[in-house]
Each structure stands twice: as C-alpha cells, then as structure tokens.
Amino acid sequence: MQIKSLWACIFNRHVKQTSDDTSILNRYWKQPRPSEFLSQHAQTIRAVVGNATAGADAKLIDALPKLEIVSSFSVGLDKIDLTKCKEKGIRVTNTPDVLTDDVADLAIGLMLAVLRRICECDKYVRRGEWKFGDFRLTSKFSGKRVGIIGLGRIGLAIAKRAEAFDCPIKVMDALGPSGVLINIGRGPHVDEPELVSALVEGRLGGAGLDVFEKEPEVPEQLFGLENVVLLPHVGSGTVETRKDMADLVIGNLEAHFANKPLLTPVV
C-alpha cells in the first residue's frame, strides 16, 4: 500500500531511495508555492517526515486534517509541536540511539580540532606557509576538564570517550577566557550573539560548533577566527548512521500504517 506522506525537507540520496520504494512522496521542499501545494493535497496526506531543520509546527498540523503520524529524521523534537500532536492524537517518532555514537565522536573530534588547531594547521600547509616556519604551540587535550550539559545518551557517550583521554568530567559552570565551548546539540541552546562577541573579544578561548540558531546561516564574524571550528550540522552525517536513521523513519511509517507497534514512539 502506498502512503501519501509529506517530506518537509531535503534529504540525502539514500533516504530518498529507500522511501521511493515505500510511499508516494510529495517533495514539499521543492514546491515553488508551498501553501497552494498544501491545500491541493491536504485531504490525502497522512504522514509527515521532518528533520532537525523542518518539522511539523502548529500551522502545518492544522493544514493537514488527515495527518496521523510525524516521523522525524532526527532525535531532537524541537521542530515538532508535540502538544498539538498529543491533542490531535497524532503519533510522533524520532531516531534515538542510532546517532548517539556519531554525535559523541564528533564532539570529541571538535574538541581535538579546536585545542590542537587541526583545521588551522591543514590550512597552514595548503597555503604553503609551512615553508616559512613551524606552526605555534597548541593546547594539550588529554587531562582537560570536560563539562557536559545534558547527561542523556549522547552526553554519557561523550563522557565515556573523554575518560579514555583522562579528562575528568565536571558539572558545568561558567567558562572563562581559556574555556572552549562545543555545541553539537541545537543552536538555540546557546545565546548566539553573545557567543559571537565573547569569541571576537577573546572572552572565550574557542568554540567547536556544529549547530547554529538559523541554519544554514553562520555568523560571518566567526569565519576569520582561528580558534573556532565550524561545521554544517553534520553530527549524524555518516553514511552508516543516515542509513540507520532512514530505516527507522521508514520502519515507523510502515509499522503505523500496518497497525503494528511503532519502533521508536515519542507520542
């Protein structure tokens, strides 16, 4: 049975391939006139697939009276109006656990990249500057105190890795001028304008950022800073994990429409 579902955002090729086998897709992100598209198809769309940047807000939910399930290609649910979904009996699923390792790996990678200036060094070599002199001393990573905000699955996975570097895990308090902030959670967790000024003015030692308030926009004042590493929300961006996430998204949709228990229900 082919289910009409609304794909709210751009997906990589693997996910599109999987989903082409199982449902008719309305590629919402490709529509030149989205609200017209919505009114045209509103009576037939029974599922929405969102991700970390585009989900199902109250407006979209209200526009789709036949909506039964929102299956998110993410573990974060901040783009979904969960209260509204509960009210209307709409099921919600996400992709927990499968991306925990990737995000934790990247958090450690960012800490190393910032403290040891790996990206800066790569640029230094590519620009031909090594011929004129050695790079400067950088900061040791092993043994540094690591503070983690949020000791859920991802936080614990980060702690486990950091311990292998003999990093004591601390309760978070204020970072000083030698502190480094790593954000692999969500952009709005951090006051971005304040973060930018702290970095530009040297009140914060450095930052590794995979998420931003208004992705894909990144404050340009950060581009010239060598104590900052900027990534385009690739926390779960590996072939292996995106496949696992896609399998969960499709698996949840299939389970719902076959009246079977959902694999990873949130609501």
Binding site: D105, F135, V218, P232, R242
Partner: protein, 340 residues
C-alpha cells in the same frame, strides 16, 4: 587553556631548576642543532652549565678553546649526529636527544665510542596519541573539509554536506604498539573500535589481535595508524602492497616519520581514489608536501606538530635538566637508549 604564541623559539614553561652558585667548566655542553631551531630555556641552562653554541650570534669566544672538552651534546631537533660530528668532540660521553625518535643519530658510532644516548622518552606520547585520534576523526568525518565548506559560504548554497564515515566501531590497526601506539589503542577502544596491531614481537599481556606482518594487518582493518620508530627495517614499511590491502575505504594516519610510508605511492593511490583517505603530520621531505594532496578533501595535512604543546615542552625541559643532573652525579639516566 593557554594558547602560546611561539615562533621558532619554544616558550619556556614555568618549571625552573634549582639555583646553583658555581659554574663548573667540566660541566660543558655543546649545542647541536640546525640554525633555525632554538631552545628558549637555553638562558636557564647557561646559569648551570657552560653551553657552547656553534651558531651563536655573535660567535661564542670560548668555543674554540672549550669545545674539545665538551662532555655532553644537547641535540635539539632533527639534525643528524654523524661519526664526523662525534670526531669533532673527542671528550663526548653523553648525547641528549630531544625527540622521541633517534633515527638521526649514528648509534653504531656512539656504541663504538662508548657514548651514552638518551631520547625524549615518552614526554610527547600523550599529545601525539591525542593528535593521531584527532587526525583520524577529522579524515573520517571530514571536519577540516566541512569547516572550509562553511567558511567559503557554501552551506546556504548547497544545503547539505557530503556524508562522512562513522568512527565508532571501526577496526583500528596500529603499527607499533609502543608508548604512543598503546595510548592510541586505549583512546579508540572508548569509541567501541576493535584494535589489532603489528609489532616486532607479539606483546605477552596484550589482548589485541596480533598480525606478524603489516600487510595482513592492513587487510583486516579500516583505519591504520603508523606509530613505530623509523629504522632501517621500518623504512617504507607502508608500501604499495600494504596500502592496496587497506583498500578503497581504508584510512591511514602517520604521526611518526614521513619515510615510514612510500609517499609517492600514497599520493598516487589517494589521487586515484584507491585508498579512502589520509591524515598526515609527517612527510618525506619536510616542509615540502606533495601538491596533488592540496586538492583532496579526504586528506588532512599537518606541519609536523603532533608534539607541539606547552605541556610536552614543559615535560621535555624537566627531563633534560633531570638527566643532566643525573649524568654529572653518576645517577641513572631516564629514557636511555639501549645501544647493544
């Protein structure tokens, strides 16, 4: 966290040796280095010892009279110490190296003359191990390439970045399970990686899978980390066969010495896409880096800085002063190289 701004002169850390009131010209060293290398704790050394520097500017007036009585050579950086160098200093009894590697010393010549040699031991091991892991994560997850992508303003235009490869759970192969290799292994284990290794001899109390030859190791892993010393036996130990065995999705990381890898072959395999990627801190002819690598996003390049942290150099300074005191008081030396 302190970011030290150092040029070619290394910043001296806060550790200071105990003061000494008299200088004994018997405690005389020669300072062996390339002209561009310098030690900023040299002034501190000079308060305790007479240090003869052939590159002193202006030239050291005591050099011509005293160099023949120098008992210790402090060799800073990768400058070779040859048999001819040793001929120049007939009173030499001890050479203090400042690298973990001692491939630049003519050890046979040292052995013949009964000269003792110490290296930097494991003062750098933690930082180098951290760096090896950092390079591996960068290559697999494309951190440097993605950072360039964002800074070029490409994210709003292209919307999604190329997917990388998961680090956790990868099979990691370590060539040389010594001070650095064992620390690399411990770190990767926390990422759920399985560890296998090749070493001159199998280690008795180690549970990791052992492969007697590097090609077999490469055939059975996803990531190969080169952690062995450069010797006549290990020169180009990573050759075309090994890299082909590692395969199209395999990643290689080298934080030891450039000549351990056949660099020309490595570049060709990377350019042809026959190997998955590489993280390289060392090269055959530093600071020359093969230009075809500059166009590749699956390669991370680094200017031989795996050891360059304040902490490593503080530990090096402490080791140097400690070994000098030990030598002059006939105490055992730390990180002594076995010459037999």
């Amino acid at each position: 966290m302190i970011l030290a701004l150092a040029t070619k002169t290394l910043v001296s850390h806060i550790w200071r040796p105990p003061p000494i009131s008299t200088k004994d010209h018997n405690r005389c060293h020669c300072f062996h280095r390339f002209p561009s290398f310098n030690l900023s704790f040299l002034p501190v050394l000079r308060t305790k010892y007479t240090v003869l520097d052939p590159f002193a500017d202006p030239p050291d007036p005591s050099f011509p009279t005293l160099f023949k009585s120098a008992r210790v050579m402090l060799c800073f950086g990768p400058k070779p110490v040859t048999s001819e160098d040793l001929d120049r200093y007939p009173s030499l009894e001890y050479i203090l190296g400042t690298s973990a590697g001692i491939n630049n010393f003519d050890l046979a010549a040292c052995r013949r003359r009964g000269i003792r040699v110490t290296s930097a031991g494991d003062v750098y091991s933690v930082d180098v191990a951290d760096y090896a892991v950092g390079l591996a994560i960068d290559v697999l997850r494309r951190v440097s390439a993605a950072d360039r992508f964002v800074r070029a303003g490409s994210w709003p235009v292209q919307n999604e970045y190329t997917l990388g490869s998961k680090v956790s759970g990868k099979r990691v192969g370590i060539v040389g399970l010594g001070s650095i290799g064992s620390r690399v292994a411990k770190r990767f284990e926390a990422f759920g990686c399985s560890i296998a290794y090749n070493s001159r001899k199998q280690k008795p109390h180690v549970s990791y899978a052992y492969y007697a030859n590097v090609k077999d190791l490469a055939s059975n892993v996803d990531v190969l980390i080169v952690c062995c010393a450069l010797t006549n036996e290990t020169h180009r130990i990573i050759n075309k066969d090994v890299m082909t065995a590692l395969g199209k999705t395999g990643v290689i990381v080298n934080i030891e010495r450039g000549p351990l890898i056949d660099e020309k072959e490595l570049v060709e395999l990377l350019v042809r896409g026959e190997i998955g990627g590489a993280g390289l801190d060392v090269f055959e002819n530093e600071p020359q880096v093969p230009e075809p690598l500059f166009r590749l996003d699956n390669v991370v390049l680094s200017p031989h800085k795996a050891v360059l942290t304040l902490d490593s150099f503080a530990a090096l300074e402490e080791l140097i002063f400690s070994n000098l005191e030990a030598f002059f008081s006939n105490q055992p030396l730390r990180a002594e190289v076995e010459l037999d």
